[in-house]
C-alpha cells in the first residue's frame, strides 16, 4: 500500500473554483426576506391573539358573574341565613364562617410559616436534612388540595375528634397554605441585604437579636404580602372543606372554634348544584361577594409590595 503523493486528499481532487453554495441542498441561497417577514407578522398576530384571549376570558368571566349576581346583592342578602326559598336566602352564616376560618388560619399558619422560613434562611446548616426540608416544602406546595382534605378528615376530624368544626377546617387549610407562606417568606428574608446583618453582628448582637431587630422589620412587608396572597387562596378553597364536612345547613352564627360552620365557596357550590334558575343567581351573588373580598386582599398586597419596593 503506497500513500498518495499529496496527502490524504490527493491532488486529483483540486478542481476549478465554483460559486460558493450556502444552501445545503446545493441550490443558491435565496434570502426570500419578504416571505419570511410575512410569516413573522402572521406569527406575531397569532401571539397577540393569545394574549387577547387570556384577557378576554377574564373580562367575560367577570362580566358574566356581575350580570347574573349584582341584582341579588342587598343588605338582606348579606345578613340572612340560607333558605330553601330563594328570595329569602342570604349568606350571613357563610360570611361569618369564612371570617372565622380566615382568622384561625392566619393565626396558625403565619407564625409557623415565618418561623420555618427564618429557620431555613438564618439558622439551617447546609446539610442533607435542610435539603430534605426544602424539597419537602416544594413538594407539599404541589399536593392537590383534596388530599389535604383527606388528611384533615382523618387527622383533625377523626383522630383528634374535633368533629366537623371551624377549628378542624382552619387547621386543614393552615397546613394547605403553609408551604406557600414559607416559600414567599423565604424570598422576602433572602432579599434583606447581608450588610444589615453584618453591621448588627459587628455591634455585638446575637443571631436572634439581629433577626428580631434588623431582618424581620425589613422583611415584614414582603412576608405580609406573601401571607395575604396565601390567605386569599385559602378563602376560595372549597374541596378540602367539603371533605371536612362543612357542607351543611347552618342557620346560626358560629360562636366558638368548635361549632360547625359553612364558608362562602361551599354555599356557592351548594347553590350551583341546585337546578332552579333562582339559585344560580344567588350563587352569582355569592361569587360577587367572594371576588370582591379577594380583590381587596390582592389590592392590599400590591400596596404593601409597592411600599416595600420604594424602601429598598
Amino acid at each position: 500500500m503506497s500513500a498518495p503523493p499529496f496527502g490524504p486528499h490527493g491532488a486529483e481532487h483540486v478542481t476549478a473554483p465554483t460559486a460558493p453554495s450556502i444552501d445545503p441542498r446545493g441550490g443558491r441561497f435565496e434570502p426570500r426576506i419578504e416571505t419570511r417577514r410575512r410569516k413573522g407578522r402572521v406569527f406575531q398576530a397569532l401571539c397577540l391573539g393569545a394574549v387577547i384571549f387570556g384577557i378576554a376570558s377574564l373580562v367575560v368571566l367577570l362580566v358574566d358573574v356581575a350580570a347574573d349576581g349584582l341584582d341579588v346583592l342587598s343588605i338582606d342578602f348579606l345578613t340572612r341565613y340560607a333558605s330553601r326559598i330563594p328570595s329569602r336566602a342570604g349568606i350571613r352564616a357563610p360570611i361569618l364562617g369564612s371570617l372565622w376560618v380566615m382568622a384561625l388560619v392566619a393565626a396558625v399558619s403565619f407564625p409557623l410559616g415565618v418561623g420555618a422560613a427564618l429557620y431555613l434562611e438564618e439558622y439551617a446548616p447546609k446539610s442533607w436534612f435542610t435539603r430534605m426540608l426544602q424539597t419537602n416544602i416544594a413538594n407539599l406546595a404541589g399536593v392537590p388540595s383534596i388530599v389535604y382534605g383527606i388528611l384533615g378528615l382523618a387527622v383533625f376530624v377523626r383522630f383528634f375528634a374535633l368533629g366537623r368544626s371551624v377549628l378542624a377546617g382552619a387547621l386543614t387549610l393552615a397546613l394547605l397554605i403553609l408551604p406557600v407562606i414559607i416559600i414567599s417568606a423565604q424570598e422576602a428574608i433572602r432579599a434583606v441585604p447581608n450588610s444589615l446583618r453584618e453591621a448588627s453582628y459587628g455591634l455585638g448582637a446575637t443571631r436572634w437579636q439581629t433577626i428580631r431587630h434588623q431582618v424581620l422589620p425589613v422583611a415584614m412587608p414582603g412576608i405580609l404580602t406573601g401571607t395575604i396572597l396565601a390567605l386569599s387562596r385559602a378563602i376560595g378553597e372549597t374541596a378540602p372543606l367539603i371533605m371536612i364536612g362543612a357542607l351543611t345547613f347552618i342557620a346560626f352564627d358560629p360562636a366558638t372554634p368548635l361549632d360547625s360552620f359553612t364558608v362562602l365557596p361551599i354555599q356557592i357550590y351548594n347553590w350551583v348544584t341546585l337546578p332552579q334558575e333562582e339559585f344560580r343567581h344567588l350563587a352569582a351573588g355569592g361569587i360577587v361577594v367572594l371576588l370582591t373580598a379577594l380583590l381587596l386582599m390582592n389590592a392590599s398586597a400590591i400596596v404593601l409590595r409597592n411600599r416595600y419596593r420604594k424602601k429598598l
Partner: protein
C-alpha cells in the same frame, strides 16, 4: 462582672430556645408529609386487603355503590386524563404564544401590565370556574353541538384550561426572558427574522423551563376538583367523548364525602385508595419538574 456573665448566659439560652422553636416550625412541614403518607397508606391497606391492587389498577368498571361492586379505577383515571388533556390543548398553545409575545414582542410596560392581569385568572376560586363552565360554556357548546350533555368533559376542560393558562404563560415567560440576549443578537446577526430567532433560538434554549411550566400546569389540572365536580358530572366511564358526562378521581372523592357512606366501610375506603393514586401521580410530576428546573438553572447561572 458576674452580672455581665449572667446576662450573656441568658442570651445563649435564648438563642438555643429560639433556634429549636424555629426548627420545630420547619418540622411541621415534614409531619404534614408523614401524616399524608401514613393516612393514605394505612387506610388504603384496609381497602387493598379486600380488593387486589391488580383489580384496582387494571379494572375498567368503577361501581363501588352498586351490586355487584366493581373497583376498577381506570374509568376515573380516564376521566382525569381526559380533562387534563383537554385543558392542555387549550392552555399550552395559548399560554406559550402569550409567553412568546410578552417576552419577544411586547414592551416592558405592556409586559408589566398584562402579566399580573393574567395571573388574576389563576387566583380565582375554582368553584367560580365550575359556575362559569355550567352557566356559560355548556350552553354555548350545546348550541354548537346539540348532542352535548348537561354535564360534559369539554366545558370542564375549557375552564380548567383557562385556569392553568397563566401558570404556563408566566413561567414560560420567565424562562424565555432568562435566555441571554447574546443568543438573540447572534441570531439577528446571521440574518434571521424576529420570528425565526423566537422560534428557533429562544424557545429551544428555554425548552426546559417551558416544559417545567407545562408539567406544573398539567399536575394542577389533574388535582383540580371543584370545576370538574360541578361541570363534568359524576359518571365514571371509559369514554374519550368530550361531550359526555364523565367522572375524575377528584370528583369521585368529593362525591363520596358528600354522600351518606358510613366512615370505615369498604366503599368509604375507596377514597383513600383513589387519593393515594392521585397523590403518587402528582408527586411524580412534581419530582420530574424539579429535576428539569434544576438542569435549567445549571445552564444559565
Amino acid at each position: 462582672m458576674t452580672q455581665n456573665l449572667r446576662a450573656r448566659r441568658r442570651l445563649v439560652i435564648q438563642e438555643r430556645v429560639v433556634s429549636t422553636l424555629l426548627l420545630g416550625c420547619g418540622v411541621i412541614s415534614i409531619l404534614t408529609t408523614i401524616g399524608i403518607v401514613v393516612v393514605l397508606l394505612t387506610q388504603s391497606l384496609g381497602f387493598f386487603a379486600e380488593v387486589s391492587p391488580v383489580e384496582f389498577l387494571t379494572g375498567t368498571r368503577w361501581s363501588p355503590g352498586l351490586i355487584p361492586q366493581s373497583f376498577g379505577v381506570l374509568p376515573l383515571v380516564n376521566g382525569t386524563l381526559l380533562i387534563a388533556a383537554g385543558a392542555s390543548v387549550v392552555a399550552i398553545p395559548i399560554g406559550l404564544a402569550t409567553a412568546i409575545y410578552l417576552s419577544e414582542y411586547a414592551s416592558t410596560r405592556v409586559r408589566r401590565t398584562v402579566k399580573p392581569i393574567l395571573e388574576i385568572l389563576a387566583g380565582i376560586p375554582t368553584v367560580v370556574y365550575g359556575y362559569l363552565g355550567i352557566t356559560l360554556v355548556t350552553p354555548v357548546l350545546r348550541t354548537v353541538f346539540p348532542q352535548t350533555q348537561i354535564f360534559n368533559a369539554a366545558s370542564a376542560a375549557i375552564v380548567v384550561g383557562i385556569m392553568i393558562l397563566p401558570m404556563i404563560s408566566s413561567l414560560s415567560e420567565d424562562a424565555l426572558s432568562a435566555v441571554p440576549r447574546s443568543l438573540r443578537e447572534a441570531g439577528h446577526a446571521l440574518g434571521a427574522t424576529r420570528f425565526e430567532v423566537s422560534t428557533r433560538v429562544v424557545v429551544p434554549a428555554a425548552l426546559s423551563g417551558i416544559s417545567a411550566s407545562f408539567i406544573l400546569a398539567i399536575s394542577r389540572a389533574i388535582g383540580e376538583t371543584m370545576a370538574v365536580t360541578i361541570a363534568a358530572g359524576m359518571q365514571p366511564k371509559m369514554s374519550l367523548n368530550l361531550l359526555e358526562s364523565i367522572e375524575t378521581m377528584t370528583a369521585y372523592i368529593v362525591q363520596v364525602s358528600l354522600g351518606d357512606t358510613p366512615y370505615g366501610s369498604l366503599e368509604y375506603r375507596t377514597i383513600f385508595a383513589v387519593g393515594l393514586l392521585l397523590f403518587l401521580i402528582t408527586l411524580a410530576m412534581n419530582l420530574l419538574r424539579q429535576r428539569i428546573t434544576r438542569r435549567f438553572r445549571e445552564v444559565y447561572e
